[in-house]
């Protein structure tokens, strides 16, 4: 890490990296939550969405977050208290771990792992355990059904996700995410290397499958059966309030952000911009 030509000790680098990850995930969750959950959904339903808090309601989620922090920390009467408290943490930790392997610039990566994308897929499956614990420990049939639905769907769509990634890994010849970016940056299309060789050109089907599977992994519409509000009133999250619910919310949109980053790294060339040196 030598962006400003300063050499830092390992522990200094580690602290900076931790602060950056701890700041990026909630910020990304806020932005994505605002753009997609509040605004895009509203426009699709011919309404304006939040307009009062800040210009065009941009501060709405900050206000919501503060509101969540003030709420009472409610445990259901018959819940398994320790597991009930643990579940949102497990889900959120999985999101933070995912971000570790994502490269954002030649030097900007928390840890350059030899197993890059394999690691990302492994830690993303951790959230399934968190969701199952959440559903079971709530002592609520709706929550249990929701968590079983969610876990079933998450496991099922992991398969197309992995298979879409396999094509990229074969073409790049490495599992390392930074290596995949470099393979695309230094690639050539029929001997013409001006824009590198983004894998979306050769693996368009894989790209489409990846995005579809990610949509299902995030339990977003049209794959929102696990949280179907009309049937099981929010699924595994039904008993959660206050900052524990906020954890789930942050994990959901933070993971959306990281998966968008992964899709960009795998198929669109990552941080490489044509014309600049790698």
């Amino acid at each position: 890490m030598s962006i400003f030509a300063i050499e830092l000790a390992f522990w200094q680098q580690t602290i900076i990296k931790m602060v950056v990850v701890a700041a990026v995930i909630p910020a990304a969750a806020l932005v994505l939550g605002y753009v997609f959950l509040l605004k895009m959904m509203s426009f699709m339903q011919s309404r304006l969405g939040p307009m009062e808090a800040g210009p065009h309601g941009t501060l709405q989620l900050l206000a919501d977050g503060l509101k969540f922090l003030q709420k009472e920390d409610i445990f259901p009467d018959k819940a398994d208290r320790r597991l009930f408290a643990l579940a949102p943490v497990v889900v959120l930790v999985s999101t933070f771990l995912l971000f570790v392997a994502l490269p954002v610039s030649p030097e900007g990566i928390v840890a350059r792992l030899d197993t890059g994308i394999f690691y990302a897929l492994a830690v993303s499956s951790l959230s399934v355990v968190g969701i199952m614990i959440a559903g079971w420990s709530s002592a609520n049939k709706y929550a249990l059904m929701g968590s079983l639905r969610a876990a079933g769907q998450l496991i099922a769509y992991e398969l197309p996700l992995v298979l879409a990634v396999v094509g990229v890994v074969i073409q790049a010849g490495t599992l390392d995410l930074q290596g995949i970016v470099l393979a695309q940056a230094n690639g050539e299309i029929f001997g013409w290397g001006a824009i590198g060789n983004p894998f979306i050109l050769t693996q368009f089907v894989g790209f489409a499958i990846f995005l579809t599977a990610v949509q299902a992994e995030l339990t977003q519409p049209p794959f929102d059966m696990p949280v179907a509000e009309s049937e099981i009133v929010g699924g595994y999250q039904v008993e959660y309030t206050g900052f524990r619910f906020l954890f789930f919310f942050m994990a959901e949109f933070g993971t959306a952000f990281v998966f968008a980053g992964l899709a960009s790294v795998l198929f669109l060339g990552g941080w490489y911009f044509p014309g600049f040196d790698t």
């Binding site: 018959k78 819940a79 398994d80 597991l83 792992l113 030899d114 197993t115 394999f118 690691y119 897929l121 492994a122 830690v123 499956s125 951790l126 399934v128 355990v129 199952m132 614990i133 559903g135 079971w136 420990s137 002592a139 249990l144 968590s147 079983l148 876990a151 079933g152 496991i155 992991e158 599992l175």
Partner: protein, 171 residues
């Protein structure tokens, strides 16, 4: 090496305590989750030895798949919250004895074989080396294992899937 030794001690401590809790806890879901902690620390030990690919595979398969399958089974068959009285087994004492004997034998075998051998300073193996050895030196066991797994997979599908005429019979 001191940092590694401390990390090893911490992880083995967590692993041992969780392994004991797996069998002493009175709740099936808690047992499955303690087992998850044990398997996670095994992944940690692999990472400590520099076997990155193996450690990540451990997380993917044991935590992402096996434990999730356990939880599925347990939750679908109605695990209760709180303590269960019937979870303890009559053959506790013989089981404990057998476990002690197996532990003693494996410890003796490990000490007898390795003696005072020490790990080299650099034990890191890259994914490329793992792949190369899998597809050259160990190609036959690898292929045999994959055929076996494929057979098991097809067998599971055959058992789970009912033929249309069978369904008519049960009606």
């Amino acid at each position: 090496m001191v940092a590694q030794n401390i990390a090893f001690g911490v992880m083995v401590g967590i692993m041992g305590l969780s392994a004991i809790r797996v069998v002493t806890t009175r709740n099936v879901v808690h047992a499955a989750l303690y087992l998850m902690v044990v398997l996670a620390t095994v992944a940690g030990l692999f990472l400590l030895l520099g076997a990155e690919f193996l450690g990540i595979t451990q997380v993917l398969i044991y935590i992402g798949a096996v434990i999730v399958l356990f939880l599925f089974g347990i939750m679908l068959t109605g695990a209760r919250i709180g303590k269960e009285k019937l979870l303890s087994h009559r053959n506790k004492v013989p089981a404990l004895m057998i476990a002690t004997v197996i532990t003693a034998v494996s410890i003796y075998a490990a000490i007898d074989y390795f003696g005072a051998d020490k790990l080299p300073e650099e034990t890191r193996t890259s994914t490329k080396e793992v792949a190369n050895s899998l597809f050259s030196q160990y190609i036959i066991p690898f292929e045999v294992a994959s055929v076996l797994l494929l057979a098991a997979l097809i067998g599971a599908i055959v058992i789970a899937r009912r033929e249309p005429h069978e369904e008519n019979l049960t009606k």
